[in-house]
C-alpha cells in the first residue's frame, strides 16, 4: 500500500514548518545551508534555507529573516514554540554549505558555504539546541527532505548519491 505524503517546499531564503505526516523539503542547496529544527516527540519540524551568515551584512532596510543564519534560527525557534513544540525536546540537523566553485585567491565571498555552516552552528549552540547530525561542506549541491515522523533527513546529490542522516 502506498500513501501520498504531503510535501511542503521551502524556497531559497525562506522558511516553513510542518507536522507529521507532512514532510518538508528544500531543493538545490549549494553554499546555502538547510537547517532543520524538530521536536521528535510532538513530530513537528521547521526548515530554514539560509543564504548568508549574518544580518550585519545586510544593506537593505527591511530584512528577510529567513535569509541570514542569525535571524533565521531564532525566528524558526519562535514558530516551532508557537506550534506547541517543547524547547527541551528540540534537536537540529543541517546540510549544505558546499563550495560549488574553486577559485584561486579565495576571498570571503568564495568561502560563503563554510561561513554559513559556522554561523548556523554558532546560533544553534547559543540557543542550546543540540545538533544530532550534519552533512556539510564538499562541493556538491544537495536536495534535502525531512520527515518529522521518523526524524530522518534525506539528502540527495547529483554526484554522491543519496543518504539518510
Amino acid at each position: 500500500m502506498t500513501s501520498t505524503l504531503e510535501v511542503i517546499k521551502v524556497g531559497i531564503a525562506d522558511m516553513n514548518t510542518v507536522k507529521a505526516p507532512q514532510i518538508i523539503r528544500t531543493s538545490g542547496l549549494g553554499s546555502c545551508v538547510g537547517v532543520i529544527i524538530y521536536d521528535e516527540i510532538k513530530k513537528i519540524a521547521g526548515l530554514a534555507h539560509v543564504m548568508l551568515p549574518e544580518s550585519s551584512l545586510a544593506r537593505e532596510q527591511k530584512i528577510n529573516k529567513a535569509k541570514y543564519a542569525d535571524t533565521a534560527i531564532i525566528e524558526l525557534l519562535a514558530l516551532l514554540l508557537k506550534m506547541g513544540a517543547c524547547k527541551t525536546n528540540l534537536r537540529a540537523k543541517l546540510a549544505g554549505g558546499a563550495q560549488m566553485f574553486k577559485f584561486s585567491g579565495g576571498s570571503d565571498l568564495m568561502r560563503i558555504g563554510p561561513r554559513n555552516v559556522e554561523a548556523v552552528k554558532k546560533e544553534l549552540i547559543r540557543l542550546n539546541i543540540r545538533i544530532i547530525s550534519e552533512d556539510t561542506g564538499g562541493s556538491s549541491g544537495r536536495t534535502i527532505e525531512f520527515n518529522p515522523e521518523t526524524s530522518l533527513l534525506n539528502i540527495r546529490t547529483v554526484n554522491q548519491g543519496t543518504k539518510d542522516i
Binding site: A13, G28, F103, G141, V158
Partner: protein, 214 residues
Amino acid sequence: MMNYMNTISSVHLDILKEIGNIGAGHAATALSTLLDKKIDMTVPDVKIVTFDEMMDMAGGPENIVAGVFLRIEGEAPGSMFFLLPIEQATAFIQDMLDDQHFDLQEWQTNELALSALQELGNILSGSYLSSLSDFTKLSLYPSVPALSIDMVGAIVSFGLVELSQVSDYAIVIDTAFNEEQKMEKQEVRGHFFLLPDPDSFSIIFQALGVSDHD
C-alpha cells in the same frame, strides 16, 4: 543605500536588453565558429525576479546543468553564468573532442571533457564581456571561469551572494540560445545570465549617457 529596484525605468530595461543582445550575440558567434554549427539566440529577456523565479528560468532548482560561473571585475562588477543542459553540453563536447561516443556519465573522471567545457566557457564569457566593455567603454575583465555540473539551485545561488545582501530580487539579463532546429524544445536551451552587482547599475547607465532617474 537606495532600493535600486525602484529606480529602474523602462529606458533602463531597454538598455540592459541591448547589453544582453550585444554580449550574447558576440558569444553566440564565437560558439558558432568554435563548433562550426549554426547557433540561434533569443531576444534577451530582462526581468526583475525573485531568487526562486530565477532558478525556474533555468529549469528549476533541481535541474542538472553544466554551469560556468565567473565574476566580472573592473569598473562595473557582477556575476555571469553560462548554463547548459546536460544533453547540450554532451553534444558540444562530442563535437569539440570529435568523439561521438562520449557519454555524460564520464563527466567527473574525464579531464579532457572538463577542460573542453571550461575552455568553451572561457571563450564565450570572454567574447560576451569584451563586447560589453567596448559598448560601455568600461573596463571589465573576467575572473578565471569555474565549472560545476550540478543542480541549478546550487550553482546559481552562488552568484546571488552579493545581490542577496541588498535585495530579495535580481535583475537578470537572460539570453537563451540553442543549436538550430532544436529551438522548439525549451528544456534544451542554454542560458547566459548576467547579474550586475547592485552598485554597478548606475555605473553602466552613466557610461551609456543615461542618468539614474530617466
